[in-house]
């Protein structure tokens, strides 16, 4: 039993409120990623689960037991830190064995568990090394090994890959995924990198200013963001937004002088300003005059496999279209932009999304 439940969890430092009542249920064996911009409270929330920050209000429940006032070591958790936090004066074996030794565990048991963890992570030949003799990736592996050795009910990861270079990050990401498949333990992972969130998570929790914006599977968040913040945060490059006027039942819109576009969402009201959202990869390029809008290419960024075309579309600023690497468009060319209706999102003045009439095929 290693479910984790947060009930109306709050945190404030004096007058400053940091976490404003978070409710969340994490199932046994689930991989949940907290993601959000810096300062959104995701690390604070993780540290509250770990017991490193006190809880101002609400309950943290692990495996059916309220743990608000239980010391970190007795919560059945293990944590991996961004800076690895290895003990520099102990070798790899000493680092991994430290918690168990401290708990008065039997020597043979410690030896056995450290060997097993070292096998999983490929650290067998490094056990006698000091942290300063290891590379960044090896250090992070030791930090993860130290967590595995404790055989926790819940793993907590606090931006574990942020200190690694890009290539290593991809490799470690895969290793963490395999680790989760192998151990089938509940994992809570904090990151500001939405690619990590998308690739690792069973479910993503998007946080902003100490509040949950949306909880869902990666594809739910991608295809059906509930508000403009989530829509802009998930996906890279970010979703394009265009101010639009409404007509008809409130779901037919015009933007930038386009012909009326019917967005397939459930009507809610008919008045008030709205924002149209579409992801760069969903815009289709057509001949001038044949699409919904005509626009002039500002800059073409060629990455080889794909090309990003930037347009200047009035008040909402940069509008990006992702197209294939063979695109011949030059800066200054005029092209037509066509918006497939099923890829459009509509947000009201508060940024809340209109519910789509049909869910995406990949999402149950």
């Amino acid at each position: 039993m290693s479910e984790l439940t947060l009930q109306d969890v709050r945190k404030s430092y004096g007058e400053a409120k940091v976490i404003h009542g978070v409710d969340l249920q994490i199932k046994d064996g689930e991989f949940v990623v907290f993601v959000g911009p810096s300062g959104c409270g995701k690390s604070t929330l993780l540290r509250m689960i770990a017991g490193l920050e006190s809880i101002t209000g609400g309950d943290v429940v692990i495996g059916g037991e309220q743990v608000n006032d239980i010391a970190p070591a007795d919560r059945g958790i293990a944590m991996v830190f961004q800076s690895y936090a290895l003990y520099p004066h102990k070798d790899v074996y000493g680092n991994m064995a430290f918690a168990l030794r401290h708990a008065g565990e039997d020597k043979a048991v410690i030896e056995d568990r450290v060997r097993k963890a070292a096998d999983i992570l490929g650290l067998q030949d490094l056990l006698k090394r000091r942290p300063k003799e290891l590379s960044g990736g090896q250090r992070q592996r030791v930090a993860i090994g130290r967590a595995i050795v404790r055989d926790p009910e819940i793993f907590l990861f606090d931006e574990p890959l942020s200190n690694l270079d890009a290539a290593l990050r991809v490799q470690m990401r895969v290793e963490i995924l395999r680790l989760h498949q192998r151990l089938e333990t509940t994992m809570v992972y904090v990151t500001h990198d939405q690619v990590e969130a998308m690739t690792l998570a069973d479910r993503i929790v998007v946080l902003r200013d100490g509040r949950i914006e949306q909880v869902g599977t990666p594809l739910e968040l991608y295809h059906h963001p509930e508000n403009r913040f989530v829509a802009g945060f998930i996906g890279s490059p970010r979703m394009n937004f265009l101010a639009a006027e409404r007509s008809g039942d409130g779901t037919t819109v015009t933007t930038q002088g386009s012909a009326p576009i019917e967005v397939p969402v459930s009507p809610r009201d008919t008045q008030g300003p709205v924002t149209l959202g579409i992801r760069p990869e969903h815009v289709e390029l057509v001949a001038p005059g044949a699409g919904d809008l005509d626009a002039r290419v500002l800059v073409a960024e060629r990455l080889g496999g794909e090309t990003f075309l930037h347009f200047d579309l009035g008040d909402e600023g940069d509008f990006v279209v992702k197209t294939d690497g063979g695109a011949t468009h030059q800066s200054g060319d005029t092209v037509g932009l066509s918006f497939p209706p099923e890829a459009l999102h509509l947000f009201d003045a508060e940024g809340m999304a209109f519910a789509p009439r049909e869910r995406h095929a990949l999402i149950g």
């Binding site: 070591a73 290895l86 003990y87 918690a99």
Partner: protein, 290 residues
């Protein structure tokens, strides 16, 4: 044409490199000479007789001037073994207390958030600006009331108080730079706050502890003021005070003074060597990221 030009340039820059290096080493050598000269002079003259010291103070001890009479006097007259052990006991105990209490205070100031944290920090550091000797009279009265006059404990307490402000200041600044993660990690591993301090924090700050130790050690070892006032009894004399018996009102036994000073350098040199090994170890380990 270009070849000669570039080789000329290379030669010029090489010459410049050599001259810079010569200049740097010249300055360093000059400084070393100035710093070491008095010490060498003391040691040289400690091996001469009285006449040798006065007729040729800068000369090497040779025929007619070489003499061990200074050392003989020091070792036979007075109780220098006791003075030495007094100095060592006072210095080592005070150092231990300064490092222990200073590190604990610094850890608390750097690690925990509590009311008056900053105020307490300023209060602890204030001692840097106020020389402890200003309080000599009050300290003497206090020691008399506590019946601590002519005990080594009196000196140990005063020196601990004297050394703490700088120690707290340096250690707090350094402890603020320690990663918070590693302490949190120890908390998750189940260590008590005391064990976090002793098993995680202290090993990490060892090089800084050595620095503070060296800084605090010299003034304590060399101090004459407080031994003279608080512990001038024969059983509690320190080396610097013991040397004074050779300095009379009318005659000074220079051979003995210089001999005892030469001997007094040795223990402090030993302690310094001990700490500086740590210093260098600290510098090299800090050079590696993480």
């Amino acid at each position: 044409m270009t070849d000669t030009a570039s080789s000329n340039r290379a030669r010029a820059s090489r010459a410049k490199g050599v001259s810079t290096r010569v200049a740097v080493h010249g300055v360093l050598a000059g400084y070393t000479l100035i710093a070491i000269f008095p010490v060498v002079l003391v040691i040289l003259n400690s091996f001469k007789n009285r006449r040798g010291i006065f007729t040729d103070p800068l000369g090497l001890p040779g025929e007619g001037t070489f003499s061990l009479e200074g050392y003989a006097t020091v070792l036979t007259q007075g109780d220098f073994a006791t003075y030495f052990s007094n100095s060592l006991i006072v210095t080592v105990t005070a150092l231990f207390l300064i490092l222990l209490l200073g590190a604990m205070a610094a850890h608390a100031l750097a690690e925990y958030r509590f009311r008056f944290n900053t105020l307490l920090g300023i209060y602890l550091i204030l001692g840097i600006m106020v020389p402890i000797r200003l309080g000599t009279v009050a300290i003497l009265e206090l020691m008399v009331d506590l019946n601590l006059v002519n005990t080594l404990l009196a000196l140990i307490l005063v020196y601990t108080a004297q050394g703490l402000p700088v120690a707290v200041f340096i250690l707090t600044e350094f402890m603020r730079t320690l990663s918070r993660d590693i302490k949190d990690c120890a908390r998750v591993d189940g260590l008590s706050e005391y064990r976090i301090f002793f098993e995680v924090v202290v090993p990490l700050i060892r090089p800084v502890l050595a620095t503070v130790a060296v800084f605090s050690m010299i003034p304590i070892w060399n101090d004459l003021w407080f031994p003279l006032i608080l512990a001038s009894g024969d059983a509690t004399k320190t080396v610097t005070l013991g040397v004074q018996q050779f300095i009379g009102q009318y005659t000074v036994n220079w051979s003995a003074v210089l001999a005892s000073l030469s001997i007094a350098i040795l223990p402090v040199l030993g302690l310094y060597a001990l700490f500086s090994r740590q210093l260098i170890a600290g510098i090299t380990s800090g050079a590696v990221k993480g």
